[in-house]
Structure formats: C-alpha cells, structure tokens
Amino acid sequence: MTLAGAVEVLKAQAVVPADDEQAPLSGCFAADLMSDVLAFGREGSLLITGLATDQAIRTAAIKHLVAVVIIEGKPVHSDLVETACEENVPVYQTPLSKYEACGLLMQAGLRPYRKGTATD
C-alpha cells in the first residue's frame, strides 16, 4: 500500500503533505507512547497516533517513518507544523478513531508491526 492509499482509506486531510504520496508503506504502527514507537516502530512505516505534539514528529524523524496520522481530528498546533516542516515529516489528520483507523488499514492489507519481527 502507498501513503496515498492509506490517506484515502483514512479519509485523511494533509496538514503537512508528503512530497511523494506514492511512497510505499512497509507497515503500520499505532501508539501514543513514543517510547513504544522508538522501541518497535520500523523504518518506512506509517504511525497512527493520538499524540499531536512535536515529540510525535521527532520520533517519526528519528525512526524514518513515512508519515504521521493524527486521529480523531485532534487540533494540530503551529509548533507541530513547524517541526514537521523542519524535519521533513508529512502529517495527516483523520476524523477516525484509532481503532477504526487501524481496523480499516488492516482490512485494506497494510501489515502491522509488533515487537520482534513484522507479521506477514
């Protein structure tokens, strides 16, 4: 699945759009705890999170994630946008809950990551 595909499934709006929405996603990880993302997130994957702070962006940059999707239409502050532009991390916003977002992406074939190895 590409980032554009995930954006469509999630009915997401771009806050900081990706230069290339056709970028392939290696998988997906959903978390509000950035330590979990730092420990288990994988390069090339999508992050679904309810954490609309700079730390979500910096975590995504450090783990080389493709994009961050903020759930439940949570407001995104200008500081976050500034950091996302600086770090070159695309940010999207979906009205869906985390459960719905994950469920739809799984159904659409995007594979999950968990501790250890990725599941196929």
Binding site: D32, L33, M34, S35, D36, L38, A39, E43, T49, L51, T53, D54, Q55, A56, R58, T59, A61, I62, K63, H64, D79, E87
Partner: protein, 159 residues
Amino acid sequence: MDTRRLAHHEFPILGRAYFLGGRASTSVKQVLREAGVDDAAIRRIAVACYEAEMNVVLHARSGYMAVDIYPDRVTIAVIDKGPGIENVDLAMTPGWSSATDEARALGFGAGMGLPNIREQADAMDIRTAKGDGVQLFLTFKREVTDDGAPPTGDSGTRG
C-alpha cells in the same frame, strides 16, 4: 580499541523545555552523518539519544550530550543536573517510571526509557545518586570494513 578520536561535539539540553526536546538528538544525528558513521549505527544512536535527552528534559534542570567519534565506535555521554536516580535497578525495569502526568502527555514516561537505551547500546554505564544528577555513558560499535577502516562518507548501508 582504537584511541584516535576523530571528532567531539557537545549539545546543551534544557530541563522542562518540552518544545526543544529532541533537538540535541537531531544535532547528534547530523554530525554522525557528516562524519560518515554507518546508517545502522546512526539509527541505534538516535533512538538512545532521544530517550536520554527526554529523560533530561522531563526530570532534570539542565544537562548536555557529548558525542565522541572514533574509527571503530561512537561514545555518547549524557550528563545532567537533576534529582538523580535513587534505585537504578528499579529504573531499569521496563514499565517502572517516576514520570509526571506532564511527561506522559508528551508520550513519554511509560518506564521504557532506560530499557530502550540499554537495548540500543553496545555498552551502557550509569552513574547517579539521589540529588546528584545522572551521568550516562553509552558506546556504539561502528561498521568497520574488511581492511579495518571505517567506511568513509555515507556508506548507504541499510540495517
């Protein structure tokens, strides 16, 4: 162990400056890239540095991160002026945390910081006492080519 130090950098960390949390680690990534450190090592170092930096931001008054680059390794020292850790063994236990609600609101404080750092580093030494700050010393091995020399420039290695 190769004792030739190729570069030394220091980056300040401000306690409670949540909006700056992660900047020192981003700078570390940058200098490692410029020094030609392999991507796999940079990824491990960046994760450990970010966790360590957030520990300083969330718990201490101030601190700094020092990076030393050697041909075969990178060492990181994270030194802070803060409350210190009373029981290191407890702090190393996944899930144990003394973090505030403020820290949790930033997505940290789940008790995974030190365990995550230990997971990423090849060696870790922590010196601390209650009221005496924390001194964290980390060593990361670099990828070394067959002739014993570190790769120069961006090796393009993917780990």
